[in-house]
Structure formats: C-alpha cells, structure tokens
Symmetry: C2
Subunit: 499 residues, 2 copies
C-alpha cells in the first residue's frame, strides 16, 4: 500500500504529551465567585475532577480545575462570563462518552456539567419537533416520547446527551434512513465565548435567512460556543417494522447488497455489517452457532405492503449477491433477539481477549470504495497480527474496528495507534474522512489539514478566532488552537478586548 | 393584529435607495489585466452590464463595472486576487433568477458570470452523487442524468444554476420528500476572498471532521466565497409515480390533510397547495372549470404496493378533512396534465391583471401555524384590496403570495411592500422565517436581527469579517456589510492586510 506514508502525522502518544501543556488556573476570586453562585453544585473534589477529565478514549485523564453543575442557560452564560474575565478555559461535559479526547481539560479550566440540565422542554407532534436541554440523553428523550407515535432517531452506541451528540455531529445505526445528528437538529440555543445567548434558527422547517449557524455549531465540539438547548426533528414510528439477518461469502458481497438496495430506492431503516470475527466473538460470548461469515443485520419500516415489497426486493438482491436465506422477525421481542448479535457485539468482542481494552477506529469512505477499504483493512489486521473485529454502518460507508489491546503493554498501544493511522490514511486516500461520527477531539487533529487542505484549516481557524477571540472554549480541540496562541483581538471584536 | 408594528423595519424603497451607494471602481490597470486574461470573455458593453445588474426582484438595475465569463476555478481565483488587490467588489452571477436583489452590484465591481462554466464533471451512480461546475443548471444536470436511473431533486421555479441554488439555499416542490439544497449538497469547491481554493468536505456521505464549511458557504449568497464546483446527492427514480388533485372547503382543511399524512409517515413526493384565487386564475387562463376551492396537488412515489398503500391512507385522511374525491394520474403525460394547473400558476396569475408585475413573498412558518398564518394573510389581502393569489409548499410550511401590481404606480408598489412587511412580521410572530427559500439578498436584510437577535447577527458579521476582511464579496448583502465599513484587519488575517 504505497500511498500510506511510514511516518504518522500524529500519534496518540504525541497528542497525550500535549496533555501536560501549561494550564491557566482559575484565581481564588473566580473560585469564590463560582462557589457562591453554585453552592453544592460546584465541586473541586478529586473524584469529581477525575471523572470529568476522563472519557472513553485511550488518553490518560486530564482533569479540570473545578466542575459546575448547571441547570439553565443563564447559569452557563454566568460561568462563561466569569471565565472570560480571567481567560480561563471552559469545557462542556455531557455523558462523558466521547472517544477521541474531546472533554479532556488539557489546559485546565472549568468543566460545565450538563447532566442536571435535563428537562424535555417541549414536544410538538404537529411540527414533529421536540426541544430539550442539552443534558437530556437520547434514551430519556425517547422514553418521554413513548406513546406519542414519534421517536428521536439518532442512536450512537452510548446513551449520550443530545448536547454532546450535536457537539460531535454524532450518528448511528439508522442514519441510512433518518440521517445524522446534523440532519436532525433544527435550532440551537448557544452561549457564545462572550457569555451572550443566541438562537441559531427559527421554528420553521427550512430557512434561507442568513448564515447557517445551526450547522456551524453542530460538530464544533464546544470550541465555538456552549450548546444549552436543542430543537430536534422527530419521526413517526413506522406502522410495521421487520428485521432480517443474512450472511454472505464475503464483505464485498454484503456491501454490494446494501448499495444495490439503496440504489433501488429501498428505504432501509438499518443496514449493519458484522465481519466473520465479530460473529465468532458473538458465538463464543452467547453460545450460539451462527455461520462465521460476513453478516448483514437489516431493518425495514413502513406500511405492511411497503415492507413486504421492499423486503422482497432486498431478498432478491441478496440472493444475487450470494447471500443466505433471510432469518426474519417482525414482533418487537423477536426483532430484539435477532438483532442481539449486533447489540452485544461490543461486549462479545472484548471477551475475545479478557482483560483487554479497545481502541475504536471511525473511518468513513464513499460507498463505492467501502468494500475495498474494508478488505485492505482486514488484510492489514492479519498482516500485523492484531485482534480487531470490524463492523459498520454500510449504507453510510462508515465502519469501526475494535482493536483489542493490553493497555499495560506499550508495544500493543503503539501497534494499535499505528494501525489506526494507516486506516485513516487509507480512508483519506479513498476520498473519505478521518472521522465519520466520533469527531476530531484531540485524536484526529493532525488529519484535518490533509482532509480539508491548508486553506480549509485556515478558514476554520479564522472562524474559531472570530467567535472565540480569547480561545477559552475547549482549547486544543478540533483546530488545535491553544490557550497561549498569540491571537490579536481588538475593539472590533464583538466580545471586547483580550484580557 | 397587534403584534404587527406600524413602522416597517425596512422597505424596498429604503433598500433601493442604497443602490446609489458610493462605488469603488476598478482602475484602468485592473481593467487591462482582466481584458488581457479573458479577451472576448471580458465585457463592458452597456447591454451586458445592464443584464448582469438586473434580477427578478422589483429593484431597479444596479450594473457592475465589468463582466468576466469564467471557465475554471483557477480563473475565478485570478479574478478575486486581482480585485482584492484594489479592494474592488466581486459578485457571482448564474442564471440571474434571484428575486431579492442578490446580484445587484450596489457598490459596483466585477461580475463573475458562471454560465460558461457549465460542465457536468462526474456522475457516480454507486455513490449516488454528481459533481458539476457552478454554472450547470438543474435542468441540464437532469438531462445529463437521463437514463441513469437517478435524478437531482431540488426544483425551484426558475431553471437556476446549481451554484446559485447553493448560494441561496434554494428549495422547491419536492423538498417535503427529498430536502432542500442544503440537504442535497455534499461538497463544494470555493474560492475564498483571498483568491485561495478550498474543498469543504470529503467524498464520504457523512463526516465529523471539523467545522461544517459546506453548510456555512451554502446560503451565504456569495458574501463569504465564490462557489465554483458542487457535489450533489442524487436520488433513484421511484419505480412508480402517481399524482392526485383534491380540493377542500378551506385552506385549513387542506393544510391539516398534509400534516396528518406526513405524521402518518407517508413519504409524499410533493404536496402543493393552490388557493381559490389561484384556481380561478388557472380556470380563466386555461379555459377550465375546476372547483374554485383550495386545492392540493399531491405526488406519491415508490414501489407499486407502497404507492397504493400510502395513497389509500391519504385518501382516507383527505376524506376526513372534508376533501373531494381524488383525481388520479400515473402515466407521465397524465401526471403532467393533472399538474399543469400548478405548473401554469405563475403565468395564469399574471393574467389576472394583464400588464402587471408580481411581487413575490416567501414566508415560512412551523407547520402548526401554517393554516392560521395563511388565513390571516388572505384576510390581510382582502382588507387592503390587493390581488394576491397564494400557493405553497405545505409540507414545509412555506408559501408564496404573488402580489400583482402596476409597476408604474408608486402607490401600488408601496402597498405591495407594506403587505410584504406585514407578512414577514406575521411569519416571525409565528416563530417562522422571513425567507423560506429565496434568500436575504437586499430585501430581507432588515429582518435578520429580529429573526436571529442582535447576538446572532453579530456572530454572522464576525464570520463575514473573518472570511472577507476586505469586504469585497457581494458587499451589502445578507449581513449588509458595506465596502466602506471600517473593519480593522491586521497581519493575523489569513488573507493579508487591508489595502
């Protein structure tokens, strides 16, 4: 694979080294101000700081200086204003489930915990929208919607907060039908770096009124503003829902089947692929005897006639691609049973090597390149003797490798990181992206220029500088702007002079 | 309607007055540079300038100083670099079909005409995307796609260029199913204000890698960069397509029918409403005898079983809402005949007052407020003795009034503008937007602060200042930044010092 350079652009080790960057600690006066305002909702306890400086990535913890548990947009604005006055970093925290180092307080600062800001503010069936505070989790929102006939579609692996999902531009298993978080966010309430509050859009379904601030903040990972409230789209539950499992002689055949189905206009609700190793892990974990072959878990939704018709199309396509007979399920408990291999994949995979940890990759490529990219990746895994099952959201071109490592073995950590690097460069070579849904955080910073070009990154940095002239919002992430970066600010800034 | 203030925030007359702003004319040296590079593709002929200073709005023409007909991204970069050196405005021009004054050279400058940059660069059936130069029109792209099994979905009234459609965030009649231009753009090639070239995204279907530059440039109306190439999503032609026409006793009933259908999960391909006056105009124009009642034109697409099933659902819903029997059509020529009232609405309406011109409004509100907003608007039309048929994209909450005026009669012009103003404020009162799909241009500038708040506009202006520090890109539009605006720029700008 000649296109893959031998020298990583960035490594987890490099990025982790940055965690020791100089910090700007809050003054005793700032601590006192926050303590007075928040009382018991302000904490500097060691355990709380450690928890808020740890995510699901392989990075060592980087705790903040203090944590405030906010309950309103006004409180968030208060914290940001207080921190801006001392140029102290502010980092938003939701469920702590990010996987690329997003929430690590690499330059210290105040962590704003949204978990108590968790009210579902409005559900509007007629407009098919709901408005939530940023700390509402996706499962909480769907529990609230129970019985309404509607659901919120975006379903990343973790039970993340909606605020966090907006901030990372998350997606999940039914993106192929219902879109990513970007497609499902309508309006945001945001606290700017100056502690002002704005709404990014109206309540209309569409608008051409000015720059798209909703999409600018979505995916900005807390570096341009703090998202405090979100209006999301809801979708009606389909009348009928049917699930199917089918296996294929090769990954290529499984991918081809999904491509052809989507091209034929089948509105697949889900299309997840599990590779042979993942199935082997599931067999061992759950004492099953599924064929250890590349397998698709599919879901169809709509009216009965539509589901029957589209399922038949896909059955024919699958047969032409060499697929097995379909195993079907329509009742909810049967669907759950049929999908359980997919749902249990993560834990089953970890049991392939008891005691191991998992480095998760997130490549996403054009569909036309997906089969080749996965095949090359599986060959790479074999060549380097890694244990790394592969599964993914085939309809989106997005797949994950779970590289199992002994976290105490530096050689294994290094090997996993080198594999991750080769995979990202392979994805970029195919015209893809370094991150389909997990975000940049610290880990993918080094790939941004390769993906967007120097001009693209320069434009992103201009935006960061314009909207966060003091660089206090989650510094070091996405565009890697650091607190000590010598940006000039002047009276023309809407947020006043630098301190 | 107490919420409507008596004093318009902005009027067409006010905005038109701005057309006499001081201009920064290109120097003889700049003229010579462009003439030398572009030869016959450079023009200062009076007729060409007038054509490029005129759009479909009610504004008087505001011609540029010169027009260049570009054929490549490099040529666009050359023009921008040359203009930046003299701080001369640059205005992009596609089909000239904008309706809010977008392309008027209110501060003079060089018009970049994209009509010769009209190659379809790639069609990728497997990825369901196509890449086009900005001057390709939507009908040209669809002609190229003929026989491929795919189509490009966004269909504004005019045969606009794809570049122009991206720049205004356009949409059309099938947005209810396939989304707006924003939902259908994947990747852009953009020339920045410094004459650099960037691509906003990878070829993957989704990404979480950095700020969403694609959506930032989409809808920026040429004020942040010049869009030169676009990758758009394609959709498979549905196997079966069926059209239906049904009328209702009231606008409210027609709107309710569409809302309930969408809530039931019906994938309506189109749902257009024509009010009674529009039907009367069509009857007169085409010598028909349709019931002069609020009417829905519907379209269904999918497999035969799906179409049958969903059409039956909608038939039942329509009956419950007091709708008439459906008139059906499935063969292409029948569908065209059945939809011809909708297609001919614009010209039929103009014939209600021969010799008149038309002021087009573009309010968009949450679906829940649509029926009330239309009812109040129809009452307003009656109260003020206007002739203004109403039709709209009901599924999106977007509707247009065509106010017929004698352009030579200042009182009528003023009355139409006052009506437009009341309508915008009514839409904003309902949580809607001043523009659902036509864009801001000059005409909606004054409503931006009301819709987005002062902080929202301040953020937009910060972005404009960061990405166009010399303010040469279509000055005066969207955020109304003028050429003489005293923005400080310094060496930290990625585009160098102000001249």
């Amino acid at each position: 694979m000649a296109f893959i350079s031998d020298t990583p652009l960035v490594s987890a080790a490099d990025a982790a080294a940055d965690i020791t960057m100089p910090r700007r600690s809050p003054s005793p006066a700032l601590i006192a101000t926050l303590q007075q305002r928040f009382g018991e909702r302000f904490s500097r306890s060691r355990a709380v700081l450690l928890q808020h400086g740890t995510d699901e990535s392989a990075y060592p913890p980087a705790p903040p200086d203090a944590v405030v548990f906010v309950t309103s947009t006004d409180e968030v604005a208060f914290v940001v204003q207080a921190c801006a006055a001392e140029r102290v970093p502010v980092i938003a925290f939701g469920a702590g489930s990010s996987v690329e180092g997003h929430l690590l307080a690499v330059e210290g600062g105040i962590c704003v915990d949204f978990t108590q800001m968790n009210a579902v503010l409005a559900v509007r069936p007629e407009d098919m929208t709901a408005t939530v505070q940023a700390g509402v989790t996706r499962s909480q929102l769907n529990a609230t919607l129970s019985g309404s006939g509607f659901f919120f579609s975006v379903d990343p692996g973790a039970d993340a907060t909606i605020g966090g999902m907006v901030a990372t531009g998350a997606s999940g298993t039914n993106t192929v039908r219902y879109g990513t978080m970007r497609d499902n966010v309508r309006n945001l309430t945001v606290v700017t770096a100056g502690g002002e509050v704005l709404r990014t859009a109206s309540a209309a379904r569409k608008s051409s009124a000015g720059y798209n601030l909703t999409q600018l903040y979505c995916g900005s990972e807390g570096t341009l503003g703090l998202i405090t409230e979100i209006t999301v789209r809801l979708h009606p539950h389909p009348e009928v829902c049917a699930a199917a499992v089918v296996n294929f002689p090769s990954v290529h055949a499984a991918v081809d089947c999904v491509i052809q189905a989507v091209q034929a206009g089948v509105a697949l609700a889900r299309a997840e692929m599990l590779d042979a190793l993942t199935i082997r892990a599931i067999n061992a974990h759950s004492n099953l005897s599924m064929a250890e072959l590349p397998t698709l878990c599919l879901e169809f939704g709509g009216g009965q006639a539509q589901v029957d018709e589209q399922a038949e199309w896909v059955r024919q396509i699958a047969a032409e691609c060499g697929g097995s007979e379909f195993q079907w399920a329509t009742r909810p408990e049967e669907r759950t049973r049929l999908w359980s291999p997919r749902h249990h994949a993560y834990f089953a995979v970890l049991q392939l090597r008891p005691g191991s940890r998992c480095v998760t990759t997130d490549a996403c490529v054009p569909i036309s390149a997906l089969a080749q990219c996965i095949a090359d990746t599986v060959a790479d895994i074999a060549e380097h003797g890694l244990v790394a099952p592969v599964f993914g959201h085939v309809g989106d071109g997005n797949f994950h490798c779970l590289v199992l490592i002994d976290p105490e073995n530096p050689l294994e950590v290094q090997a996993a990181e080198a594999f991750s690097h080769r995979l990202v460069r392979r994805a970029l070579h195919h015209g893809g992206t370094s991150t389909g849904e997990h975000g940049v955080g610290l880990h993918k910073v080094g790939y941004l220029a390769e993906e967007h070009g120097e001009t693209g990154v320069a434009v992103m940095r201009s935006i960061k500088r314009a909207l966060d002239p003091l660089n206090i919002l989650n510094p070091g992430k996405v565009v890697a702007a650091r607190l000590d970066e010598g940006w000039r600010t002047d009276e023309s800034s809407p947020y006043g002079k630098a301190q």
